[in-house]
Amino acid sequence: MSDFDFSVILENWGFLAQGLRYTVQVTITAMLGGILIGTVLALMRLSSLPPLQWFAAGYVNIFRSVPLVQVILAFYLILPMVLQMITGKQMPIGAANSAYFTFTVFEAAYYSEIMRSGIQSVPRGQVAAGYAMGFTYGQTMRLVVLPQAFRNMLPVLLTQTIILFQDVSLVYAIGATDFFGAADKITQRDLRPVEMYTTVAVVYFVICFTLSRLVKLLQSRIAIIR
């Protein structure tokens, strides 16, 4: 431990910070996109139309049983092929960009399960009350059910986002430079694994620990309001 060299961290902080910024950007994009798509999937799953139910169930089950690293690599390779098929042009989108897409689509499966139980947690009487007031299905969902479902599930959605934030480190599989990827690249060059990986672990811990405590706090607040 005596030769733990802090200067290695300081010298490379700019590069690490860039990586961290990318990690945060992917997290926020995938959270917003994932919750949006996830909510649509949850509504499909709970709809009365069998084809919609099947599609949503299939989507969720496939993504929930496959390792994320595999999806990251598969999408990185398949996405350009699909784009080329559509546009007829070669479209190399790059590792960094494909991850935005992959994480959004992948996390949607997890967010959709959370939204589904959130929607189911809203008493059926609320839906009846919505219809009784003359709302359409869309209005009932948008104005009555989803706001309640969202509020009930907010802590769980945020907990999932903390997991997502950690999972971004798996873009290592396609060589994108997220926070962990940045540390790994510095390690390859400077051969200081102890300093670099420890820094990543500590920073991740501080951020995730703080966020999860905040979520707990929020949870107790929500419990009181209810």
Partner: protein, 245 residues
């Protein structure tokens, strides 16, 4: 689309004389081994930690809580890299050399994945024990059972039954999480997936096959635990109804 489908490539020979399907089978074997070994470690350690967090002893609770906080808030891949590249540098030199040179990779990978998963198991075991009424513990103690006997015969058997559904999904997750061990050199299924893509470019076929393989593993685990759930079901008892209040 000008993608060239070729399902027969699985039966072609690789550079090392084996067929591609051999690579997949060997990867499947390593995935199963790493997953089951890690799960066993995680169940044992996670149960111990979960129990610690429900005891009246403050310091045991503190250790258990700290463990869960640390191991849940650092990404798995970072944890694995810590075990492989950082821990050997921090321990005494001779132990470090042994870890780097003689200790099989797979052991470190299993420890890494096992300790990571133990934190999740500990959460569930704790939740299961806490969902039981306090009276159950009192009843055990009142009969003269020791604190430990009360856990062993009264509280844990019920706690496990209650959290079995949550355990099932954790057990299914372990196959997925085991894929991350490719990064530290375990030749498991995802490693082979990546390698086959590099050699053949048959991305779609291999993606379909490997996806189905992971599906199958998760499905088998699901059936196994459903079987255990049926075997341990208690007549006249509705488990799960307690969680709502």
């Amino acid at each position: 689309m000008d993608y060239h489908w070729d399902w027969l490539f699985f039966f072609r020979e690789t550079d090392d004389g084996l067929k591609y399907y051999d690579w997949i089978l060997s990867g499947l074997g390593w995935t199963t081994l790493v997953s089951l070994a890690s799960l066993a470690l995680a169940l044992a350690l996670g149960s111990a930690l979960g129990v610690m967090r429900t005891t009246p002893k403050r310091w045991l609770v503190a250790i258990g809580d700290a463990y869960v906080d640390v191991f849940r808030n650092i990404p798995l891949i970072v944890q694995l890299f810590m075990w492989f590249f950082v821990v050997p540098e921090l321990v005494p030199d001779r132990l470090g050399m042994w870890m780097k040179q003689d200790l099989p990779y797979v052991v470190i990978a299993v420890v890494g994945l096992g300790l990571y998963t133990a934190a999740r198991i500990a959460e569930q075991v704790k939740a299961g024990i806490n969902s039981l009424s306090r009276g159950q513990r009192n009843a055990g103690l009142a009969l003269g059972l020791t604190e430990w006997q009360t856990y062993r015969h009264v509280r844990l058997p019920m706690a496990y039954r209650i959290v079995l559904p949550a355990m099932t999904s954790e057990a299914m997750n372990i196959f997925k999480n085991s894929a991350v061990t490719y990064a530290v050199g375990i030749l498991e299924l995802y490693f082979q997936y990546k390698q086959i893509i590099e050699k053949t470019s048959q991305v779609l076929e291999i993606t379909i096959v490997v996806t189905l393989a992971y599906f199958a593993l998760a499905f088998l685990m699901n059936r196994l635990l459903a079987f255990i759930e049926r075997r341990t079901r208690v007549p006249g008892l509705i488990v799960g109804g307690k969680g709502s209040n």
